[in-house]
Amino acid sequence: MASVEFKGKSFEIDEDGFLQRFEDWSPEWVDYVKESEGIKELSDEHQKVIEFLQDYYKKNGIAPMVRILSKVTGYKLKHIYELFPSGPGKGACKMAGLPKPTGCV
């Protein structure tokens, strides 16, 4: 499995660039991933989405459905794509350190 070094931290990732272990997440991870996800500067809105995803995952062991993400953050899907161009799954979940989405994608 590939591992990357960034700002003194080491992250193990899969081919799609998702963290192998949620526990490895640190703020440096977000910094490392953002460019490949088409994000220049991280705003409070980005943070809010990431924090909610992490809270939800810690509590429920899964990623929230899109409409729950929208409801809780108050961001419409359109705005979530403005924040994370590759969308809530590939973009936000990856940056939040959640496991890779599965199923018939």
């Binding site: 799609d16 998702f18 899964i62 459905m65 794509y81 969308g87 799954g89 590939k90 989405p101 599965t102």
Partner: protein, 436 residues
């Protein structure tokens, strides 16, 4: 000399059917020879490695693709199916083997110009292998590397004015039969509806916002040439309200043997002389056709519009002039709670461009399902969990005998409180009349 030995695959080059092994070997050789001097953007031996990996799967009798894969293009949440080989050292040409779904035109009519341009993009940036088409309808570009995805997307959109198809928990690429373009049975313009829906619901197609996948399919008549009743959550099937049009002279021509029944579809075997009574009248499920030896008559009030008589005598019988469509909901494959075909929810709806009446039903269903549907619950399952009654309520359609095949046989019937008065009954009142 091929890169990998493929003795088992080679068996599949025998026999009369077009062999995909032959085709892919041909493509492998063409890429090796590179007659057009293409600067291949993914390994030139992708086809050979793919064949090698396939041969290994034949030998091991198991797949050699890793689980899942999340790749895509910016702005969209779907359209590309990521795939990685589990033996990248041995088969580097297919270390990445992502599939790109490209939205196909209605009815899958093409010009060679379009297809040549598409092949040019795929030759340079992909494997050269395709699937024409995926079951949902998309043009499927089989096998490329992650770095090429945005490049392909740029060229598709900028040079070919063509978009990706759908994947994930969203509206998948709609498809229809070829409808009025070359079928006299078509009751509405399926291609126009398909195109109109694709354009109107681009956002729902590209950015997953649903509890699970959702498919549209559009059949021009009950023959179901695109299988909408079995393969789409929202099935629109053309039908008519007025009488079947009968050309008595043409009926006689069938009886006299001038016209072949079923347009000659059974010509491969001698089924004897056409017998209109045995082959049409007695096969009618509504038992509403009469033939008195010189005249065919149909009791249209009892006709269920099954298409049988029209299919047998297409030159004599035509669908009625007042056409529209039925809307059915909920078809799905077995996972999780069993397979379903779509159930009738709107018996007859007008189906004319811009198809507002149909879109209205779609949006009402979505509003409800997006709110009530559980994670990865197809709308057919939501309908089973919450009832057909709920669906009818949501779309504002009065229940009607046509909504069921037969009435329920169990007596577990729910009533609304306002239908029965008041459910607030103090037990003390009851005890005054009935001692314990």
């Amino acid at each position: 000399m091929a890169k990998h030995k493929t003795p088992m695959l080679d068996e599949l080059t025998k026999g009369p059917w077009p062999s995909w092994v032959d085709d892919i070997k041909g493509e492998a050789e063409r890429r090796k020879a590179n007659p057009d001097n293409i600067d291949y953007q993914i390994p030139a031996d992708v086809c050979e490695d793919w064949l090698g990996l396939q041969e290994l799967s034949y030998k091991d009798m198991e797949t050699h693709w890793k689980h899942g894969g999340i790749v895509g293009v910016f702005g969209y949440g779907g359209g590309v199916i990521g795939r990685y080989c589990d033996m990248p050292q041995q088969f580097p040409g297919v270390a990445h083997f992502h599939t790109v779904r490209v939205n196909q035109p209605s009815g899958k009519y093409y010009t060679t110009k379009f297809l040549t341009d598409l092949c040019d993009i795929w030759d340079l940036r992909g494997s050269g292998m395709t699937n024409m088409h995926g079951s949902t309808g998309d043009i499927v570009l089989l096998g490329t590397f992650t770095e090429q995805l945005e490049e392909i997307f740029f060229e598709l959109t900028h040079n070919m004015n063509t978009d990706l198809g759908g994947s994930g928990s969203n509206l998948r690429t709609p498809a229809g039969c070829l409808g009025k373009s070359r079928c006299e049975f078509a009751c509405y313009d399926t291609m126009a509806l398909e195109y109109s829906m694709v354009q109107q619901y681009q956002d729902e197609l590209h950015r997953p916002a649903f509890p699970y996948k959702f498919k549209f399919k559009f059949d021009g008549c009950p023959m179901g040439c695109v299988c909408s009743i079995a393969r789409s959550d929202f099935s629109v099937i053309g039908t008519w309200k007025s009488d079947i049009r009968i050309d008595q002279e043409a009926v006689k021509a069938y009886v006299g043997g001038e016209f072949k029944p079923n347009a000659g579809a059974h010509a491969g075997r001698d089924w004897g002389k056409f017998d209109i009574t045995a082959e049409v009248v007695n096969r009618c499920p509504g038992q509403c056709i009469k033939w008195d030896g010189s005249k065919l008559s149909i009791d249209n009030k009892n006709c269920v519009r099954c298409m049988h008589c029209i299919a047998v005598m297409p030159r004599a019988l035509r669908v009625g002039e007042e056409t529209g469509a039925s809307i059915l909901l909920g078809a799905k494959a077995p996972i999780l709670d069993g397979q379903q075909m779509s159930s009738l929810i709107v018996p007859f709806v007008p189906a004319e461009d811009p198809f507002d009446e149909i879109k209205e039903v779609v949006e009402k269903i979505w509003d409800w399902w997006m709110e009530e549907g559980k994670n990865r619950e197809r709308v057919g399952e939501t309908m089973r969990r919450m009832s057909l009654q709920k669906v009818l309520n949501v779309i504002g359609v009065e229940p009607d005998a046509r909504h069921v095949k037969y009435p329920r046989e169990n007596p577990y019937i729910f009533w609304k409180e306002e239908e029965v008065g008041n459910w607030d009954r103090p037990i003390e009142e009851y005890r005054k009349r009935h001692a314990r």
